[in-house]
Symmetry: C4
Subunit: 317 residues, 4 copies
């Protein structure tokens, strides 16, 4: 869908279009990924291998590396075996199975460049294949070095979001608010937040994406925790709507946070979303218990950002 | 040509000068490269080897690595052979050819540090050369690691541009528009576009570079597709010009897009250009078919951004 | 503590909350670290291993690498020994201790891929373990390469701060000032400073964080030294306060400096703080002795930024 | 010297202070380095080893690597020799010199992990030292990989500056101008220039640093060449001064250029300076000869940016 199809506020273009879906949708999934699948190009063109390698889990990465190691060694062992075990020095086995296994391990010793040498290529052909294999081994290892470094050095924000977004008293009125904390020991500086409401527009039967103005949208340091507040005044798009109204309109609160990871001096981005079902009323956030320890160091328990306390629902009679 | 030669709008300086060429030129080639060749310095000073290594095709890179591997091993084999095969342990061949081949493979085993050891340097001279070769091997491999990592981690935008730029109805008037989509699975955020018209000025006989104002020049996310629109109002430089007029003036629509690749948290740049011959009239873009799949994930087929539908040419009688 | 709890100036949010602690606290420790410890998540989730590896001392890093090397080799040696020394070729020792030690060194030769080969795995099981160990060795080494590169290439500011912050004559009035110098040979460009006063508010019994306006907050180059000055006019939060008053209020002067390291073309950040106890009155900074040497190069001794000269205390009678 | 010592324009603070030196000085040396030497800290604290490794010449770097390789191997050979050649397998030489040389090469084979194995450590002590050496070899190689990658990937601008800064006719008046061109094949985008005049102030006997306003200070692309012009109107600090006046005042034109290298998507910085002696009058720049080749590619010869043509000196009678 074309993005320009109807006029919107210039600061709130998420590029999701304005189509209304039959089922309920979630634009930002729980792990911060944008919930879009792009297809249409042939082969691997829609896939970014480097992206996958540096963002998949460590377990999956090691399975891929290990499986690749076995497959490549098997292939080279087959080639060596097909050429003939007699073209190798030090190979004294008498059965085919033993020879094949020995050639498999010779391949592993060549690929990793460990090269013990108790078995060695003794003909031009086998030496040539082994020379190619050791070059491939070095290049593959160069790739692995790059991928592991890319993973490790990838700028990331490690933000914990409160379990719920709440509607709580704020100043003289109410506010829609949630809390975030950095749970790692580095600092996140020059942190900025943007909060967007995605909601069904019952009149146009389209989906609106509306910027929610914040009481404060930027802080220098995210040291303890940050309560991000959208004051619900009469200009707010959620003014006069109950939580049930928001659920009925399949509302989603989309959060974009940008900051600088000061270990790496690089910009990092965090995304999160709450569905209306995760919204609480008649509660307020419990202040984090923070204390200075013997060394004068401030201590916080980041898990406390989830804690809420009940409040008397305010009724204007 | 000096850039200041005549006054232009401060936001539209592409640095191409204002000279008019005899033939037709294309300032941005189809793969987004700026179509300029710079010469004049001696030797390799006009060439950026790192730039070449990280931007050439993988096939060419592997050919260079493989050819270099053969050349270096041949050179070292010649040195070893010239010193004498008798200064190597384990070398039991009787013909020169066999000795040379064995020394070639010994060289490969030294360069890759696989070092089986069935052949080994047995004199001071041959040991010295082998010690140098293994150091060179490590350094060469260090370079290869850097190049492969540089290629993989290089910030890139993967944008698909619609095949044509079209003149289509827009709001109450017409617009010059094209579509872009990110065809990979990562997100491109804070994306900005700039569109510049390069056109022959029949009056001054010079080439003008004119910024085309956009209906929206920045979006937060490039999730689905983005239709970039220049509204053709009476202040537009293309107002009143037909597609044939633009062809006659050798017009080129130059597009500069800047965004942030969120896997790498780095700015990426994309360039593209349409020649007037690639412009279509009396069509409009067909909306992308997008649907939420069973997992609530929005699906799009990026190839659909090329699709256009015919529209009745609007005539004001 | 929620950050929004009371209204503050939008440009001074350090995220420390406004709680007053019983003891004296220091928000920025002497090495520029933010003095906060975050806990609450299970296991290693509060720890950023990469952050630790690239920011710990070189000595600690080498101890970790060396200890890891011994532990891994011991583990593999135990496995090899448990399988049986008789499944290795070249192992001719007669005592268990000698066999274990030989297997420990075989493990080291496999992990580092040096693979002399005088001892080699001679059964399927031992060959398999050795093949896994050499793969692990390569991956571990890939990690070490990444960590060492990450450490070396990490963008850092190397700023020396004057030992004291001083209250000195400035123009026609007084100023709160300190000096910084870059003590390395690269250049720090587009350098910006921000100075924040953290002070107990005796009226609200809370802690205030107040931006101190600077006479100049940005310089193009930090070539020699930079005296950063907060002019103490009647709008300054320290106007009318003595050094003793500041000590009584547990005042801390927090400094945030941002610049671009021009070797790496990357933004770098420096933090520092002075407690009120480190403040001097009735002194002024001694100008740095700078001279052009025979090559026309300006020479400075960065240690001189600490030097102060006594001044007659100005009294308005 | 304190930077705030006298009031200056906020956009022209180079951090050089305002001291006047007896001899003639050059603030930016011909290779763009800031001409400052910083001392005062003990040991290597004033030196940034990584900075040196990635910015020194390739020749010096290879000499350092090669010398280090020889030194480390000699040290380990001495240790091995001191322990005793009899604790090595395969060492069959009879003279001390031959044994020492063989141990030197054994050390090289261990450090590079080539490990042929015709000589191998046969005691616990020698095996331990060899295990340490191979670990050191891997770590040293990891460092070399990082340094070579850091050099290659270091963001750089490759700008050629015209040999002279000239005073030439510009529009209806005159301008101070010079030309720059990117001589590599990548593109430099969003390029900004700043030009600063450093000049002796005869009245205050101090050195002034004055920003020279430019006709255009930013261009989108630096494709062909860029003539940077300071129009000499009656507000210009050089208005009414002859070249000889500028020489008498030891004037230096300091140029700071910032852009984005689009291969690496990173900001790059270039510095240059002209002394008044390098200024030419009564000339103008010869336009670059640029032509479209058979492939429609624009060709320029970057060396032509040096070329000037004589002009009739304009005299107002």
């Amino acid at each position: 869908m074309a993005i320009f199809a109807n006029k919107r506020k210039p600061d709130t273009e998420l590029g999701f279009g304005t189509k209304n879906y039959n089922g309920r949708v979630r634009f930002i999934s729980s792990d911060g990924q944008v919930n879009v699948k792009r297809t249409g190009l042939s082969g691997i063109e829609n896939i970014d291998i480097y992206h996958w390698l540096i963002s998949t889990t460590l377990t999956k990465l090691f399975i891929v590396i290990f499986a690749g190691y076995i497959v490549i060694n098997t292939l080279f062992a087959l080639v060596y075996f097909w050429i003939g075990a007699e073209y190798f020095g030090g190979l004294t086995y008498t059965t085919s199975t033993d020879n094949f296994l020995a050639l498999f391990f010779f391949s592993a010793q060549t690929l990793t460049t460990v090269g013990y040498g108790h078995i060695y290529p003794a003909s031009t052909t086998t030496s040539t294949i082994a020379a190619i294999e050791s070059l491939l081994g070095l290049l593959g290892f160069a790739l692995a070095t790059g991928v592991l470094y890319g993973r490790f050095s990838r700028p990331k924000a490690h933000l914990l979001y409160s379990r719920n977004v709440i509607i709580a008293p704020y100043m003289e009125m109410t506010g829609l608010m949630f809390r975030v904390a950095n749970y790692k020991q580095y600092e996140l500086i020059e942190t900025e937040a943007q909060v967007i409401l995605s909601i069904d527009n019952k009149e146009t039967n389209r989906r609106d994406f509306l910027q929610l103005p914040l009481e404060r949208s930027k802080i220098n340091f995210l040291t303890l925790s940050w309560t991000i507040v959208h004051p619900i005044d009469d200009k707010s798009p959620v003014y006069g709507l109950s939580v049930q109204d928001l659920i009925d309109r399949d509302a989603e609160i989309i959060i974009l946070i940008k900051g600088i990871n000061d270990t790496q001096s690089q910009s990092v981005f965090s995304r999160f979303s709450y569905k209306a079902e995760e919204m609480l009323e008649n509660v307020k956030f419990k202040p984090l218990s923070q204390f200075a320890d013997a060394k004068g160091r401030l201590n916080i328990d980041v898990k406390e950002i989830h804690s809420v306390l009940p409040v008397q629902a305010v009724k204007i009679s």
